[in-house]
């Protein structure tokens, strides 16, 4: 291992070692003081952010072409780490309140984050598979963390079965690609493709299988059905974490593999991806209309947003638009992540034991009794529907812009009409909160309020001054190819 190798995975190593040390240290932390573990985990992630920031601007292919360090990876790594910190902030009080506080929770989350970071840096299909498993297995456990609650166990089992099933697709796809190109490294695959040595039939079959595998992970239609059940059954902070980070990781690797290694294939597969994007937007938004459980509603909303992100993936298949599409997607991920965490924070504040307090009716009167919490949720709902003066608007703006410029105006139209549908169900939450009388029960917790109000302020402020974040997203794509 050279120094460059070491440096390129320094954040991953840090998080891993920190998690392992925490696992041991947790044994000596008394039961009633598990908040210590949470704090230590958050500090570890913050250290990870610091190290990642020091990697900005570096580009290196390390471990003999197995891993890639570039701004794209650094940008996403920071997203994962920050979302981990936010998820811990949401969990801190929640776990205590639900009586499921155990130190392993935070350690598992850190393991999963390390897996995600490895995934964005992966430059070899075997590493991709390894990283996907590495990030998923802790999540299967997190989904079932609220045991012996039946829903949580159900969520864990469903997530595990479908997750391994999709891993099967992925692995089979990788095997076929190896058969076609005699390589699992992206560089080798590219070389084999450009030298016309690859068996194209095998290659396309393999790539399609990989697409299915990733489709499961990011929950795009028609591979989305697990998401609502899993998000509903899992402990709420874990659902928030999955809704944001797993999606980001999945899209990151999709972009990395399909745009770097299979650029010509991206164009051939475009009609399929087009259909998946359109279908996901329609299915996610239409099914969300009937949801009365907030966790399910947000789950369907996250499916819909996967559809929008897919739209960027379609646009990226136009070589002239690749850079712009990727930066639009990264920007959208940040906008979506920030807003989603805020919305989940509000859900966590209202959730009561035994899965109560999650129905729309339980939100009646929130705007009147807790104006700040209501205002924050209002901001999140507007941001998710893409209404101006929220960061969600810019996310959609850039996404639609790149889609139009890449020549997919019809897909942009589908996106526009489905976001009109989404306005309806997001507004319904607002209607309940502000326009119906009720006696909501809200948990007051400093960290929760901080996440909710902080995210709301950020969502609005970043929409008034969008330049900085955009610049960062634009920088992050430069070295993708």
């Amino acid at each position: 291992m050279t120094q460059a190798d070491f440096f390129s995975i320094l954040p991953i190593i840090t998080i891993l070692l920190w998690a392992l040390a925490l696992l041991v240290a947790d044994l000596w932390i008394p039961k009633e003081r598990k908040s210590m573990t949470a704090l230590l985990a958050a500090v570890g992630l913050a250290v990870g952010v610091g190290i990642s920031l020091s990697q900005v601007g570096q580009t290196a292919l390390t471990f003999k072409g197995m891993l890639m360090l570039d701004n794209f990876a650094v940008f996403l790594n920071i997203i994962f780490l920050v979302s981990g910190i936010l998820a811990i902030a949401l969990s801190y009080d929640y776990l205590k309140r639900m009586g499921i506080e155990r130190g392993e929770y935070y350690v598992l989350m850190m393991f999963s984050i390390a897996g995600m970071m490895l995934l964005t840096q992966a430059y070899n299909l075997i590493v991709v598979f390894l990283a996907i498993e590495f990030l998923s297995i802790p999540l299967y456990i997190l989904a079932g963390f609220a045991r012996p609650r039946l829903e949580s166990e159900e969520a864990a089992l469903k997530y595990f079965l479908l997750g391994t099933f999709s891993s099967g697709f992925l692995l089979y796809g990788i095997a076929l690609i190896f058969g076609a190109t005699k390589s699992t490294g992206l560089e080798g695959i590219m070389a084999s493709l450009s030298a016309n040595e690859a068996n194209l039939v095998l290659f396309i079959a393999g790539a399609s299988l990989m697409l299915v595998g990733f489709g499961f992970k990011v929950a795009v239609a028609p591979f989305h059905e697990w998401a609502p059940d899993v998000y509903q059954g899992s402990p709420t902070p874990a659902s928030a974490f999955m809704a944001v980070s797993v999606k980001a990781a999945g899209f990151a690797v999709l972009l990395r593999i399909f745009l770097t290694a299979f650029p010509t294939l991206a164009q051939q597969l475009m009609p399929v991806v087009w259909g998946v994007a359109a279908l996901t937007m329609v299915v996610g938004n239409v099914l969300a209309i009937n949801q009365t459980n907030l966790k399910r509603l947000l789950a369907y909303s996250s499916i819909a947003h996967a559809g929008y992100l897919m739209m960027a993936f379609v646009s990226a298949s136009n070589p002239a638009q690749t850079g712009q599409a990727v930066s639009a997607m990264l920007y959208y991920l940040v906008a979506y992540g920030l807003t989603t965490f805020g919305a989940w924070a509000v859900v966590v504040s209202l959730e009561q034991a035994e899965g109560k307090g999650l129905e729309l009716e339980d939100y009646a009167g929130v705007g009147q009794k807790y104006p700040w919490l209501g205002a924050a949720m209002l901001v999140f709902m507007l941001s998710l529907s893409g209404i101006p003066l929220t960061i969600g608007f810019w996310g959609k703006f850039f996404l639609f812009r790149t889609t139009v410029e890449a020549g997919f105006t019809s897909l942009a139209l589908v996106g526009l009409f489905t976001s009109l549908v989404s306005v309806f169900y997001y507004l319904r939450v607002v209607v309940y909160m502000f326009m119906r009388p009720g006696e909501p029960r809200v948990r007051r917790d400093g960290w929760l309020s901080l996440v909710a109000v902080g995210a709301a302020v950020a969502v609005v402020l970043l929409s008034v001054l969008p330049s900085r974040l955009l610049d960062m997203a634009a920088q992050a794509v430069l070295r993708l190819q």
Partner: protein
Amino acid sequence: MNFGIHPLLLVTFFPLVGVLVILFLKSQQKKAIRWTALATALVTFAISLWVLAQFQPGTAGMQLELRVPWLRLDGLAIDFYMGVDGLSILMVLLTALLTPIAILSTWSAVEDRVKGFMIFFLLLEVGMTGVFLVLDLVLFYVFWEFTLIPMYFLIGIWGGERRIYAAVKFFLFTMAGSLLMLLAILVIGFQTGTFAWSDLLEKRELFAAAQTWLFLAFGLAFAIKVPMFPLHTWLPDAHVEAPTAGSVILAGVLLKMGAYGFLRFNLPLFPEATVKFAPYMAILAIIGIIYGAAVSYAQKDMKKLVAYSSVSHLGFVVLGTFALTAQSVSGSVLQMVNHGLSTGALFLIVGMLYERRHTREMSAFGGVWKVVPVMGALMLVVTLSSMGLPGLNGFVGEFTILLGSFGSKVLGSPWFAGVATLGVILAAVYLLVMFEKVFLGPVKVEANLALKDLNVREIVTLVPLLILIFWIGLYPQPFFNLINPSVENLVSMVSSALLAAH
């Protein structure tokens, strides 16, 4: 004179100062909240007069321009770009005038959650003023959509029985139109690399090929807002359910945003398409005029009647806009102001009656002039103004529109103006019927004998409107002086584009 802040920025964002102050007041301090809101709105009105003082009436182009880069990304330039001209100056003044009046009208009507009400009201003013002043398409979209949110809450929280239905319908209808506009904005931005109105005028050829679609996409958003037949169905619901102050602003200003959008964007940016679609738009406008009048006549509820009359009155504005003569377009701009004044006043008086009797059914009244003479007299003036009696404001606007449309080359037939004239007669019918049923004859319902006449506050809310109703009716020249240069410029732009095309 300069306070160190650009006047247009100040007039747009000053209400935020009031919002900030109100945020720090306790929700029980209703009095303080109301006075803060009123004072803020009045200061904003004073600022708008200051803007007017700096406005050069003889100039056609944009004045008091402010342009700073807001967002720069490769191939993308979004500016914070504001300016005022003859098309927008009166709209800004109207907004600034109606807001304090509407706020004053809520003194006793809104008792519940006053804090939220005033915050949303002032935010709404920011949004509306912004819509009329900004000249960058993306920024315009931002303000355009932003106005939805406060209005949605005003209807949804403080509205009548079916308020939630009305609020959601209002939101979804407007949103449906504006999403297509967003797409059109993106297409224009892609083809020209800019979103700034003045740059787009110069680079018009770049998107001229797609202008039919662009016209329709922008037009749909504006037509829903105006609203034009057959896209008007959200309006009666929103109006009937909205609290009085909300209705005043909705009719007085929000609907004008649609008509203004046509003038500001559709006409100068897509002139060929404008001319192509002008007859169709005029036909829809005329259907709206007649249909609105007929439906108004059939109403039993006063507020519904006034709401449908808006569909009819705004039909004239759209007709004047698409007749594309200098006279008709000037008439349209003035008629936007007139409608804001007359219909605003009508909604206020209907609201006052409702506060007293908690019903708006015409059959519940009758002969109340004897009981409330001041209200009766004021209502008479407002009714006559709304139906276009010579000497009052409505006449000036409608007459100019009809006169201008009569000789319109674009429409090509005097029939358009001829049929529209029927609308004036029908307006007289339904408005006078309402006046007769409510104010004239013997007192039929005993409860009405105890009606209280207007108090000082209520008279104060109506007087400014009445002054303007008479002023515009008797001496409209100063208003036309403000409007005309920009309108002439606009019409010559459209016709020169036509000449170039032939």
